[in-house]
């Protein structure tokens, strides 16, 4: 591999003089990029010749490219510059490595999920389905109902907690709530599921499976997120607005309702939407509190199993049925729909913050 490096310094040493002034030799600005390309090509060639697959070829190319930059830079510029360039290569490489999962994940889900992304998937439940066909109609409704219920529970509690922290709170209670809200964001989702199960078992007996229990479990996960994001937004409302309102004799609570919240409305909408996006894909708590069923069951207040999209995807993948391919296809499509749902919510959140943001600097 070291045989590949010598050709590279030749062009760089010819362009040396016009950098001028220095008593030391230096590589021109663009040289490292060229060096990397030369090294990478050599690496790619090595990978191909040794019969490696795509991954190996890329790894060889990256290693040899980095090495070429480092060695030449060390020879021409000295050790410090070389270390700097080495770190640039490593840091950039780390970022590219992190993009691999994202790209491959989206690609894989699209490739496998697109097959069953048809009308049947959205209009049929799994009642009486063996093998081909079937859909996630019941699971999509279940997800919408449970997520809606979660939002109804979480947003008022979360918003009022944030209002308390920003407008009223002081002393140790405020400190304690702030700290434990942060701690609650770290509760494992499965533990939230166990909590909801334990709570509802008291009222409905062992083996309870209920939409409301799932909503309670998700609320434990969602409330801290709502508090965190809405608190940040409420803090951004300028104090002058509050003071102007007080000066007009408006009571504090009307100031909050009529001045603070409308000013922060866009940010609140964004925060709540992102919080919904966080919990809509939660699987573990729903696996415990809702289970799975093949039929459409849209009443979250009775002790009956409900299907939800993430749990549906999990079971279709792990227990796909007798000709497994059909179940696995349905699972990937469910995963695709789930990703689309989450991305749509993220997009909505961005649009809210863009179009409903208060006009600043009038």
């Amino acid at each position: 591999m070291s045989t590949q490096t010598p050709p590279a310094p030749a062009p760089s040493s010819t362009t040396l003089p016009d950098l001028g002034g220095g008593h030391r030799r230096r590589l021109p600005r663009r040289a490292p990029v060229g060096l990397f390309v030369v090294g990478a090509l050599a690496g790619a060639l090595t990978g191909r010749l040794t019969g490696g697959n795509v991954a190996l070829t890329v790894i060889y190319a990256a290693i040899l490219g980095t090495l070429a930059v480092y060695v030449v830079s060390a020879v021409v510029d000295g050790r410090r510059k070389a270390t700097d360039r080495l770190m640039t290569c490593l840091v950039t490489g780390a970022f590219l490595i992190a993009m691999i999962p994202l790209v491959s994940l989206v690609y894989e889900v699209l490739r496998n999920g697109i097959k069953r992304l048809d009308a049947t998937f959205f209009s049929n439940s799994m009642v009486g389905v063996i093998g081909e066909g079937g859909g996630a109609y019941h699971a999509i409704w279940g997800t919408l109902i449970v997520t809606g219920l979660t939002t109804l529970i979480s947003v008022p509690i979360g918003l009022f907690t944030a209002i308390y922290l920003v407008e009223y709170g002081h002393g140790r209670l405020k400190g304690a709530i702030t700290f434990f809200v942060d701690v609650m964001t770290g509760i494992p989702s499965i533990v939230a599921g166990l909590f909801a199960y334990a709570l509802f078992e008291i009222f409905f007996g062992p083996g309870v499976r209920m939409g409301l229990a799932g909503a309670v479990a998700l609320s434990v996960l969602m409330i801290p997120v709502v508090v965190r994001s809405t608190e940040e937004v409420l803090k951004l409302v300028p104090n002058e607005l509050r003071e102007a309102s007080y000066a007009l004799g408006v009571p504090k609570w009307r100031t909050i309702v009529k001045v603070v919240i409308p000013t922060a409305a866009a940010g609140l909408g964004t925060g709540v939407t992102l919080a919904i996006a966080r919990v809509v894909g939660e699987t573990a708590p729903l696996l415990i509190t809702l289970g799975i069923t093949n039929a459409t069951q849209n009443n979250p207040f009775v002790d009956e199993r409900m299907a939800t999209l993430p749990v549906y995807a999990y079971y279709q993948l792990t227990q796909p049925g007798v000709p497994p391919q059909f179940g696995i296809d349905r699972a990937w499509t469910a995963a695709l729909v789930l990703i689309i749902l989450v991305m749509a919510l993220n997009l909505v959140a961005r649009l809210i913050s863009r179009f409903f943001a208060p006009t600043t600097g009038r």
Partner: protein
């Protein structure tokens, strides 16, 4: 509204005094509103206490149960210990792989990427956080695991003398190392987000001073940025650790479980993790088995709570420190 006819007769002198003595006006609406807000805040604390209390209550029967009733037909500690071992092992792998990568990504976005695209790159990394964990499980078993099989075979052949890679290498790729890598990807966004936040706060004077003294970009980062951001990075890494400890579905889908306590990362004999074990066994469990699962959940809750509180404490201490300086 509070001044009486008496007060008004003492014309000028009382104008200011009167205002001082009148308590601030408390309307009914204010009392209700502030009461509701405070109640919601207290409800948060009650909810957290409730989670702990219900887990403890439901776990108690498992402590007093006879060994025959427990899922492993042994002691409760013997049931939870392999799971705890698996949980810690997977989370530590995730942290070892994920944390350096996340810090490097944060450095890239903050200091290396062209400023115009930095925002977009940050958004791309945040997208990873938005992907549901069950989908990560799909990716892990469908894409990553098969591609790691030849790598594991290579590890077994050439590095088999290291206890971690004794093998026999799994032919499905559903190993502890695969799980660790999937978890590493899942905790990237949170560590990156917190590191970026910290790096942004490094005083530009520190950075410019380093550059003015002739430091290269990397030396500037090593001398000015990393020391300043150290506790923030540690805090972020611990939050990531907390997330990896509690991750359920990705592990449940990817890992091939046998219950063995082993450091061998590439074989198909793996200990399960607490969260994955609950997800896999809860639907078919009843009676004392559920209590045993909840007891293991309690152990997980205590560990993640401790890790998170420590992380928050580290981050908060850093915040005070930077405000003071």
């Amino acid at each position: 509204m509070g001044s009486t006819p008496d007060g008004r007769s003492k014309v000028t002198a009382t104008a200011t005094e009167d205002r001082k003595q009148t308590p601030p006006v408390r309307r009914a609406g204010d009392r209700v509103f502030s009461g509701t807000a405070r109640g919601a805040g207290i409800l948060m604390l009650i909810a957290l206490a409730g989670v702990a209390a219900f887990l403890v209550i439901k776990a108690i029967p498992a402590f007093s149960a006879s060994p025959a009733e427990l899922p492993n037909h042994g002691s409760l500690a013997g049931y939870i210990w392999p799971l705890l071992f698996g949980t810690l092992l997977a989370a530590v792998i995730a942290l070892l792989v994920g944390a350096p990568l996340a810090v490097a990504i944060a450095l890239f976005i903050t200091f290396y990427a062209p400023r115009r695209v930095a925002q977009v790159l940050g958004y791309l990394v945040d997208l990873l956080a938005a992907i549901p964990s069950v989908v990560f499980g799909f990716w892990g078993i469908g894409w990553l695991a098969p591609r790691l099989v030849p790598f594991y075979a290579w590890l077994e052949k050439h590095l088999g003398f290291i206890p971690l890679f004794t093998g026999p290498a799994s032919v499905t790729g559903r190993t502890m190392l695969t799980v660790g890598l999937v978890l590493a990807v899942m905790i990237l966004p949170i560590i990156t987000a917190i590191s970026r936040e910290v790096f942004r706060q490094v005083p530009s004077l520190h950075r410019e001073a380093a550059l003015a003294l002739g430091a290269t970009r990397w030396e500037m980062i090593r001398l000015a940025v990393l020391p300043y951001g150290r506790s923030g990075i540690i805090g972020g890494a611990m939050l990531g650790l907390g997330r990896a400890l509690g991750e359920t579905l990705a592990v449940a889908i990817v890992l091939s479980v046998s219950g063995a306590v082993t450091f061998d990362l590439i074989s198909s004999e793996n200990p399960s993790t607490i969260a994955a074990n609950i997800a896999l066994n809860f639907p078919e469990s009843s009676g004392i088995q559920i209590n045993a699962l909840i007891a293991s959940g309690l152990a997980l809750f205590v560990i993640t709570l401790a890790v998170n509180m420590l992380a928050r404490w580290i981050v908060a201490r850093r915040a005070e420190f930077t405000e003071a300086s």
